[in-house]
Amino acid sequence: MRNIFERAINTLGWARLIIAAFLLVLFCVAPFVGIRIDTSLSDILVRVGMNGIMVLSMIPMIQSGCGLNFGLPLGVIAGLVGAVTSMEFNWAGFFGFFMAIVFAVPLAIILGYLYAQILNRAKGDEMMIATYVGFSSVAFMCMMWLLLPYRNPLLLWGFGGTGLRTTISLEGFWLSILDKFLSFRIGSLFFFPTGTLLLFALACLLMWGFFRTKTGAAMMATGSNPLFARANGVDTDQMRTLSVIISTVIGAIGMVVYEQSFGFIQLYMGPFYMAFPAVAAVLLGGATINRATITNVVIGVILFQSILTMTPSVINNVLKTDMAEVIRIIVSNGMILYALTRKEQAKK
């Protein structure tokens, strides 16, 4: 009995058990403070679909030993440019959504390649460098959003007629296009975002498949033991570059998916903190800085988004104050801090 209990703790980890227990308490309390469980569940599902792919983008870089992708804003920027460019041509519906991705991916490949060149020169300090690459790219784009030659009045500042707005609505373009695809309702309040979740599942499947290929094995070895990889004929720099490009491309696609669900495109400082929730989610799922699995991503994104959805609404109703932002910051940064201080321990 004791053994089973211990094994459960070992496989799940204390962090996940505590968070899960906390969630359970929140769900139990929720009905008593006037929060509907079905609405909450629906919110959680939408948020999981929204963020899932971006969290998934952490995996290639972690597996190749480049650490957590704090440079996710690069992928996000590619996603934003893709979306804005597709809207510039007034393309709407599935075609618009698809073209946003088509524009985003090549840019993500170029940015990812350059980003990888920087990371390969800073082996051992990737995460620190990545953070600043992310921050400075956001600052750089703050200028570019003003200067890029977009002409569609729907995207531009109302006054002056030049420079993109900070917030652009997707209304009339491809708002919730995936969320609504094959979606269904149970009762009036529970909404199931089938399309988004399907795409997330497909992305997970492809990622799993990638690591079952020869190249996937080489990438994993690069992260697990670079000396081993080199001694066995793997070009480690090339594998790292590839992993960074894949991470950035998935980040860009993830951003387009995020936008359609969120309903708005937020430019300028919008991408600034995008990396942290994704990093926190994958760590919460049990990944370490050099090992991550699809399971880590799925568990992580569900737990993290559940906490973000439930905590503010329940606690706000209990305390009658707005704690949403405070709790979000404590959970996400606390999780990152926790994960960075612990090293993976080998079973003996």
């Binding site: 079952r212 290929t213 020869k214 070895a221 697990s224 001694a231 070009d235 080998a346």
Partner: protein, 555 residues
């Protein structure tokens, strides 16, 4: 443990009477025994050191020299691993140091092979570190003696005095970072000399980093110190130095004192043969050499290879390996024997030319080496040899998968999918063949014991089906049973598949039991290649850098 100590107390008190009659040696080591977790490294070691005497301590790597010196110097590692048995007496008094500070206070100094100096300090500052001459100032009243002012002039005088004792010319204001290696070594010794109470000086391979002329200055300095009555224990692999400077020679082998004789009675050849010992009934895997072996073609020819591998630098190696043979590479640690295989694999920056099977092999490119049919068992099993956190089957198949596209199923679109069925099958086959103790092909290798991990490394190269196998220390740190098995598999691999093997090992016995020829590396060069059944003492001499041409005369 406590009881044993008590017993020694009793024995000692009963011996007291007779000891007072004879004049006490300066340092006396009696019946020292030490084991690390049941593994005996020192057995019944006894010898004496008199005032002004120099004792040379020689032995192969792992003979127990460093452990003995650690005991003498009170290194914490000894206490941590359960202490030792036996007694050490200084001036007739029992000593047992808890840490090096105790040893220093009692008058034992040690000069290490690696420098314990602060590079940005001057010679003076290093020599007098923490023992500076000081002057009073008022801050002392407030904050204590640590805030006394340094008396630079007095310090310089003391430093000069210590340096002069050595008979060298080091300016006391030279920064350590700007000194040549030998000066650094002298500075270390000067630091020990400055201690008034210093009686015994232990020199652990101080000349290893020096040139010939530097070393000879050093030996002169040693003689001066001896004239001042300081007893010295000198550890060196350069036997002619030992013969030149020592009064007495103690030869250690496998933790035992093999010989303890006056230097005048020893010759290079004797010492070498005592060090390496004689072959005692080990199983021989060597096949009967047939006549046509001599005629086989050259598979690998290395010309002027230079490999920049830290700690195992290869300076100039030219070597030919015949097809189907097992060539052993031996030598003492740090002489560069490991660098050769690592250089061929392209793991460390290399220069020179390597021709494999008639085709030049590109240097510094592991993938090309692997593709050309070279496989490598790394001496660093956990660091380079394995993916510790991955499964056994992936470890075994990884190289073959990456290099030869084995264990791959091709899916439409050119996707190279890992064939897990084949992976499982081959892992199971190797588990049976090599008797790998594990729960199955999916167990992570980090959970296996050292011997079984090594078998995984062997399986990995077998899966490659190489033309040339480079095995570096394939039996290091594994138990006897696994050792035997690994050697048998290598032998079988060599005979059945005609795979040429270059095996590097620190264990001479092992090389002799499996190889056809043995090349000995000394200071980054090959000093000689002998047949495996050459006399042990010849190999011993080669390991110490003495070419086999003539018997060097005793200085």
């Amino acid at each position: 443990m406590f009881q044993a100590f008590h017993l020694f107390q009793m024995i000692r008190s009963s011996n007291k009477g007779e000891r007072q009659i004879s004049s006490n040696p300066l340092l006396s080591i009696k019946n020292i025994q030490k084991d690390f977790y049941g593994n005996k490294v020192l057995e019944d070691i006894s010898f004496d050191l008199d005032r002004g005497e120099i004792v040379g301590l020689v032995g192969e790597n792992g003979a127990g020299k460093s452990t003995l010196m650690n005991i003498l110097f009170g290194m914490p590692v000894i206490q941590k691993t359960g202490g030792y048995k036996g007694t050490v007496q200084l001036n007739g008094k029992d000593i047992c140091f808890r840490d090096p500070v105790d040893a220093i206070e009692a008058g034992i100094g040690m000069v290490h092979q690696e420098f314990f100096l602060i590079p940005s300090f001057t010679a003076t500052e290093n020599i007098l570190l923490n023992r500076e001459s000081t002057q009073y100032n008022f801050l002392v009243e407030l904050f204590g003696d640590r805030l006394q002012k340094l008396d630079r002039t007095a310090m310089k005088e003391r430093a000069i005095r210590a340096i002069q004792t050595l008979g060298v010319d080091i300016h006391p204001d030279t920064l350590v970072s700007e000194m040549p290696v030998s000066y650094k070594q002298f500075t270390e010794i000067a630091r020990e000399i400055d201690r008034e109470q210093m009686k015994v000086l232990v020199l652990d391979e101080p000349t290893a980093v020096m040139t010939e002329s530097e070393a000879s200055t050093f030996l002169t300095a040693m003689k001066r110190l001896a004239a001042r009555g300081i007893g010295q224990i000198f550890i060196s692999h350069r036997l002619h130095e030992i013969l030149e400077v020592c009064d007495k020679i103690v030869v250690l082998r496998d933790g035992k004192v093999i010989k303890n004789i006056p230097a005048s009675e020893a010759t290079l050849r004797n010492i070498a043969s005592w060090m390496v010992g004689r072959e005692v009934g080990t199983t021989s895997f060597r096949r009967a050499r047939s006549a046509d072996d001599q005629d086989t073609s050259v598979l690998l020819s290395i010309d002027k290879l230079k490999v920049d591998m830290p700690g195992e630098r290869v300076k100039n190696v030219s070597l030919e390996v015949r097809e189907g043979e097992i060539l052993g590479i031996g030598g003492l640690a740090g002489q560069g024997k490991l660098g050769i295989a690592n250089g061929i694999m392209g793991l460390y920056p290399a220069q020179g030319s390597i021709i494999l099977n008639g085709k030049p092999l590109p240097l510094n490119n592991p993938l090309e080496s692997l593709k050309a049919g070279v496989a490598f068992i790394s001496e660093d099993r956990r660091g380079v040899g394995l993916l510790l956190n991955e499964s056994l089957k992936l470890n075994i198949a990884f190289t073959a998968m990456q290099v030869k596209d084995r264990f791959i199923k091709r899916l439409p679109g050119g996707i190279k999918w890992q064939d897990w069925n084949e992976l499982d099958a081959s892992a199971k086959e190797f588990i049976d063949r090599l008797e790998i103790r594990c729960t199955g092909p999916d167990q992570r290798v980090v959970e296996l014991s050292g011997g079984n991990q090594q078998k995984v490394c062997v399986a990995k190269v077998l899966a490659m089906e190489p033309k040339l196998l480079l095995a570096s220390e394939p039996t290091r740190g594994i138990d006897i049973g696994a050792k035997q098995l690994v050697l048998e598999v290598l032998r079988e691999f060599n005979q059945r598949d005609r795979t040429t093997i270059v095996m590097t090992s620190s264990e001479l016995q092992e090389l002799r039991s499996i190889c056809d020829r043995i090349a000995i590396v000394y200071e980054g060069e090959i000093v000689g290649i002998v047949p495996a059944d050459a006399p042990m003492e010849d190999i011993g001499l080669l390991m110490l850098g003495n070419k086999l041409v003539d018997e060097p005369t005793h200085a």
